[in-house]
C-alpha cells in the first residue's frame, strides 16, 4: 500500500487523481442532469423516478453516494493541496505579468472549483437536507414525496433560479478546461485524437451544463408549472 501513499503525494500522482475523480464527477453530473430532465415529463414521471432511485436493489444508492463522496473529497483535497504548492513554487511574482496561451478557464480552476463547491453545499442543504430555502416536503396524490413541486416551487423564485443558472454555467467553465486537461494528465495526447480530447469533450460538458441550466429557466418562464 505504501506505493499508493507515495503516488498520491507526487506531482503526477496528484494529477492522475484529479483527472480520474474529475471524470467520475462529470459522469455523475451527466446522470444527475439526465434524471432531472424528467421535470419536463411532469409530476408523475419525476416523483416515480425519485421513488425508484430510493428503491434501487443492493443498496446501490448508498454505494453510489459513498463513491461520490470519496471522489468529491479527494478532488477537493488534492485541488487545494496542488494550488498551495503551486503558489509556494513562485514566492515572488513578476512585476510585469503576461500570458502567451494559457486559457482564462485554466488559470481560474481553483476559483471556479471553489464556487462549484459552495454551490454543491447550498444545493445539498436545500434539496437533500431541506435546511434552507425550501418548503416542508408534501406528498403527491399517489402518496409519494412530491419532489417535483419542491423543485418547481424553489425555481419559481428568480433569486434561487439565478443561483442555479450562474453556478452551473461556472461548472461548465470549470469543465471547459477540466475535460480537455484530464486526458493529458493521464498521458493521452495524440494528434489523431486531440480533436476529441480538446474540443469534443468540453463541448459535451457545455451541452450537459446547458441542459441543466434549462430547468430553472423553463420553470421561471412558465414552461414547467
Amino acid at each position: 500500500m505504501s506505493w499508493i501513499v507515495r503516488l498520491q503525494k507526487s506531482s503526477l500522482g496528484s494529477k492522475y487523481i484529479m483527472a480520474i475523480t474529475g471524470a467520475g464527477l462529470f459522469l455523475f453530473v451527466i446522470g444527475h442532469f439526465a434524471g432531472n430532465l424528467l421535470l419536463y415529463w411532469g409530476q408523475d414521471a419525476m416523483n416515480a423516478y425519485a421513488v425508484e432511485l430510493h428503491n434501487l436493489p443492493y443498496g446501490a444508492l448508498w454505494i453510489a453516494r459513498g463513491g461520490l463522496l470519496i471522489m468529491v473529497l479527494a478532488h477537493i483535497f488534492i485541488a487545494y493541496r496542488l494550488t498551495f504548492q503551486n503558489r509556494a513554487a513562485r514566492p515572488q511574482r513578476y512585476q510585469y505579468e503576461a500570458t502567451l496561451q494559457a486559457s482564462f478557464a485554466s488559470r481560474t480552476m481553483p476559483y471556479t472549483g471553489t464556487i462549484v463547491l459552495l454551490f454543491i453545499l447550498f444545493h445539498l442543504a436545500q434539496f437533500t437536507f431541506h435546511l434552507v430555502a425550501v418548503d416542508p416536503v408534501q406528498l403527491d396524490p399517489q402518496g409519494r414525496e412530491d419532489v417535483y413541486s419542491m423543485v418547481v416551487h424553489a425555481f419559481q423564485s428568480p433569486v434561487y433560479s439565478a443561483i442555479y443558472v450562474v453556478s452551473v454555467l461556472i461548472l461548465g467553465f470549470h469543465l471547459s478546461h477540466g475535460l480537455s486537461s484530464m486526458w493529458q494528465s493521464v498521458g493521452l495526447n495524440h494528434r489523431k485524437y486531440n480533436l476529441a480530447f480538446r474540443k469534443l469533450s468540453p463541448l459535451l460538458g457545455w451541452i450537459v451544463c446547458l441542459a441543466g441550466v434549462s430547468l430553472p429557466l423553463a420553470v421561471l418562464f412558465g414552461l414547467i408549472k
Binding site: S11, L82, A89
Partner: protein
C-alpha cells in the same frame, strides 16, 4: 532607437532587490538584446556603477544561459527565439521594457538577472542519461533506429535546459524540461532498459526541488525557445503511471 529599461537589481541572494530604471540610447535595431544590455553596461561602468549581471555564453541559441523575462515573457516571447537571438528591431523606438530574472523558488536569484538553475542538474543526475559499458567503439549501425524514432528523439533532445518553461509556467512547474529529457531517451532503443526507473527518479527529484505542478496551461510550450511540445509531458505522464502501477519487484527464490 532610445528605450527605457526597468531592470531588476539585486546584489546577492540575501538582498531584497528592486526595479531600477535606465535609458538605453543610440541602440541599433540590428543589435541583439544582449548587445543592447552590453551597451548599457558599458555606460554604467564608465560612470563607475555596477553593471547589470546577466548570464550568457554561446550567444547563438544553443547554451540556454541567457535567461531573462522581458515584458513578462520568457526570452521576450518571440516564437522559437532565445534572448541572445532576439533583435532590437522587435521593439518600438521609445518603448518601455521590463527585465526580470526567472521567478521560481527552485531557481534562487544569485545576482540581478542571474539565477541558480542547479535544480535542473540535480534532476538530470537522477536519470537523464543512459548507462553504457565503456570499451571499444561500437559499430555505427549495430543498433537499428528508425528515422521516425530518431526524429522524435531529436525534437525533444533540442531542449537547452534554459528554464523558460519554469519561468513562464503560472505554477513554476518544470514538467516540460523534465519530460523533454524523459521522452528524448524513451524514443531511443538505448533508453529502454532504464526507461521507467528514469521517469520515476527524475519526477521524484523534480518534486523535491520545489517546482510547481502541471495544470495543463500549456504556457511552457509557447515560451520554449526550442518549441518542445507538451506531447512530451504526456509521454512522461504515461511512463510514470506505468512505473507506479507495474514497478518490478525482484522475483527472488521461493
Amino acid at each position: 532607437m532610445e528605450l527605457t529599461l526597468h531592470v531588476w537589481r539585486q546584489k546577492n541572494g540575501q538582498d531584497s532587490g528592486k526595479m531600477v530604471t535606465y535609458k538605453a540610447r543610440d541602440v541599433s535595431p540590428e543589435s541583439s538584446f544582449l548587445e543592447m544590455l552590453d551597451q548599457v553596461n558599458e555606460e554604467l561602468i564608465g560612470k563607475n556603477d555596477e553593471p547589470i549581471a546577466f548570464d550568457h555564453d554561446c550567444r547563438e541559441g544553443i547554451c540556454g544561459s541567457c535567461s531573462m523575462m522581458i515584458n513578462g515573457k520568457a526570452h521576450g516571447g518571440r516564437k522559437g527565439t532565445t534572448t541572445c537571438q532576439l533583435h532590437m528591431r522587435s521593439f518600438k523606438d521609445g518603448e518601455q521594457i521590463y527585465i526580470e530574472p526567472w521567478r521560481a523558488r527552485a531557481f534562487p536569484v544569485v545576482k540581478d538577472l542571474v539565477v541558480d538553475r542547479g535544480a535542473f542538474d540535480r534532476i538530470i543526475s537522477k536519470g537523464g542519461f543512459v548507462s553504457v559499458a565503456t570499451g571499444g567503439v561500437p559499430d555505427a549501425n549495430a543498433i537499428p533506429i528508425s528515422k521516425e524514432a530518431a526524429d522524435l528523439a531529436m525534437d525533444t533532445a533540442e531542449c537547452i535546459a534554459c528554464g523558460a518553461c519554469v519561468a513562464a509556467c503560472k505554477n513554476a512547474s518544470a514538467m516540460l524540461f523534465v519530460s523533454a529529457k524523459v521522452s528524448h531517451l524513451a524514443n531511443l532503443p538505448q533508453g529502454q532498459p532504464e526507461r521507467l526507473q528514469r521517469a520515476t527518479h527524475m519526477v521524484e527529484q523534480m518534486d523535491k526541488e520545489g517546482f510547481g505542478n502541471c495544470t495543463n496551461y500549456f504556457e511552457c510550450e509557447a515560451a520554449c525557445p526550442k518549441q518542445i511540445s507538451v506531447r512530451s509531458i504526456a509521454v512522461m505522464n504515461r511512463d510514470f503511471l506505468k512505473a507506479s502501477l507495474l514497478h518490478q519487484e525482484p522475483v527472488g527464490k521461493a
